[in-house]
């Protein structure tokens, strides 16, 4: 197997005076969906934000596609092929849906075939194409946030809890869209609380606790072992 698209080696991150990440080791294999799981407040979001460069690693290395991006500025990281769907969706609420999408297509005009593909996954975006994004419903905003990352081809997608607030029907279309992305050769690092989605999409899984990755392995292994889940996340995921 080729080298991973993304590798974190002993990453420590501070936010103000708090030590949040305390030595995260993590690999995202090429062409796979890698899950990042764990309870609230263990550092999942912080990990993604450190990769994209919003927080700075105090120690450790981040390798993307073989290059050290630890100290690169955020725009450079993004331009090297990383798409980001933040936890708070990061919608530009004063801009229209269209303007949000135009901005997301950083390297040129929007590819219309790709746009059609996005519309089939998320029909409301088409309906509200000219509306102010701030007026969208919670779920619609979530769709827009994912669509923005997908509007251009990227090597790696960092996606933070994309299904929160989505209706079941949309959750399935979104899952399908992510699978298609993977089929196109992209790699995905996905934070998810919805275990059904995790099970359906994940190839490998990493479980975090207290600023570290405490377990990693195949998703199938985790989803098949209720005892392991209980130990790692304090609760059997099967219950939900």
């Amino acid at each position: 197997m080729s080298d991973p698209i993304l590798r974190l080696e002993g990453v420590y991150t501070n936010i103000a005076q708090y030590h949040i990440l305390q030595g995260v080791d993590l690999e995202v294999p090429r062409g796979q969906v890698t899950m990042l799981l764990g309870r609230n407040g263990v550092g999942k979001t912080t990990t993604l934000r450190t990769v994209i460069g919003h927080w700075r690693a105090r120690q450790g290395r981040i390798l993307f596609d073989g290059e050290d991006i630890t100290a690169l500025p955020t725009p450079a990281i993004a331009r090297s092929g990383v798409g980001f769907v933040p936890e708070d969706m990061g919608i530009f609420s004063d801009l229209t849906v269209e303007e949000n999408m135009v901005l997301a297509a950083a390297s040129g005009p929007i590819d219309s075939a790709r746009l059609e593909w996005i519309f089939t996954a998320f029909p409301p975006l088409k309906t509200f194409w000219k509306s102010e994004a701030g007026n969208l419903s919670g779920g619609q905003k979530q769709m827009l946030s994912i669509a923005r990352a997908m509007v251009e081809e990227r090597k790696l997608y960092l996606i933070d809890e994309p299904t929160k607030g989505l209706a079941p029907a949309i959750v399935s279309t979104m899952a399908r869209a992510l699978k298609e992305l993977k089929a196109q050769g992209a790699s995905i690092l996905l934070v998810e609380q919805n275990f059904a989605v995790a099970r359906a999409l994940g190839d490998t899984a990493n479980v975090m606790d207290d600023g570290r990755v405490i377990w990693s392995g195949a998703m199938a292994e985790l989803s098949g072992d209720a005892g392991l889940q209980e130990r790692l996340m304090g609760l059997s995921l099967e219950a939900h």
Binding site: E87, S137, P168, S172
Partner: protein, 254 residues
Amino acid sequence: MTDPILETQDLTVRFGGHVAVDAVSCGFQAGELTAIVGPNGAGKTTYFNLISGQIPATAGKVFLRGRDISGQSVSLRTRAGIGRAFQLTNLFPDLTVLENVRLVVQSRSGQGFNLWSMASGHAEMVEAAEAILVRVRLLEQRHQVVSELSHGNQRKLEVALLIALDPAVYMFDEPTAGMSVDEAPVVLDLIAELKAQRDRTILLVEHKMDVIRTLADRIIVLHNGALAADGAPAEVMASDVVQEAYMGKELEDV
């Protein structure tokens, strides 16, 4: 059946030409937990906004205990007994967790215009607030500033504020979105507790079917702003409208 506590009559709102909530008439009984489901953008949050007064209705009326409150401001409706937790977290970000809850307790005590006593001198308010933080398991974080909380914990605080307000009508908008599997039950248990009190009216917007199955007495379905179905959970869940427009294909089929 007794008269409903909360009732909406032909409640409608339009944004430009878009009818986001379309003549919804519905009543809610005390002690009943009604789940509101519908696709994204169906108008659920907007319906809540109309009831709690965040946006004015284009047409239609809202009644609380038979009294027309359509013209009243948010704060008046809140005082009259309509409480609300928001879908997108909406807190006092630079205040501490404890102060957030304490402010709600203070609001209920009617001390807001007290200019002369010392706020820190009202021990009973602090105690009441701490009791609520214990219930949502946030006591440890009570001196943390809200903006430093992780997303999941902010969601819990959002619920805590509503509980502190203790209104006659509770409106939860996707309370567990973004909560981890071991935290969500805390909130769901709280809701179940409220329901067991039998004197509170609870409206719950949720996309998680298992949650609805265990908690709801009744489900109403909004679709394109209109009331598309209303009835007992099993019956509504099985209906075509829910299956087609809402559930879509099961995930496993993807």
